[in-house]
Amino acid sequence: MNMESKEKWIEETIDIVDALSPVEVPEGMDAKILARFSMKRQRMIEMSAISKWSIAASILLLIGINSYSVLHYSSEKEIKTGESNLLYTEYFSYINQ
């Protein structure tokens, strides 16, 4: 008997979903959605302008760093090559003697 009433109670509780009616949307939802959308779109436009300048600055910086290191490295190499040549001539100078 008790088991029966428990089963009945469970079934009735689950069946409540059939009696639920859809809820009306809060007022002003349409306007809120459109306002939110235009705000996000505006933010995206601003962001794209910022990112455009950031990309340009990054490229310039990259070019700068690269040209500096290329120029600096090549002049340093020249000095080093000169030094090694000097050492080489001095070391093997006995051959020419």
Binding site: T13, A19, P26, I33
Partner: protein, 196 residues
Amino acid sequence: MISNLNEPDFIFLLKSGDTSAYQQLITVYKKTVYNTCLNLLQNSEDAEDICQEVFVTVFQSIHQFKGESKLTTWVYRIAVTKSLDYVRMKKRKKRFGFMRSIFSEESNEPIYDRPNFIHPGVLLENKERTEILFRAIDQLPENQKTAFVLNKLEQLSYVEVAEVMEVTVSSVESLLFRAKQNLKKILGDYYKENEK
């Protein structure tokens, strides 16, 4: 269907950024989206917020819509994904708040807990039982909860639920069967506890 346009034409208008098409989409789908969010989130304010977010996502990603499914299915899918993401985020926050309350010395900060939900569309005589039922639905695993809400509350067919959830119809049948079994168990435990 949307006014006297067919779906591809309407989607074309949306993709071209037609404001009246946006307005029409909101008018047609707002009730569906709001109710889906409300049933999954079980909180009116959160549902309103996520409903707005769903439409913003629809407008922003309409260019990615390839028309492989119906527009309705796609909108439902976004509503479900957004709602479940929000639920996950809230659970994470709750867990983090709990951990903080354990480790921090000042544990005065209140831990967020969802208040009991009473569905606004319920009849007065069923109010208490609806609250119990929704508490039980909230305890279901995510995919069972989604299938149950879409089929029983949103009245979608098995095929439609399968399309929204991107699973097979037999998977939906199995999810709904397990959801009902779990609900019976949760409600049975509640009945036992409150019998005396």
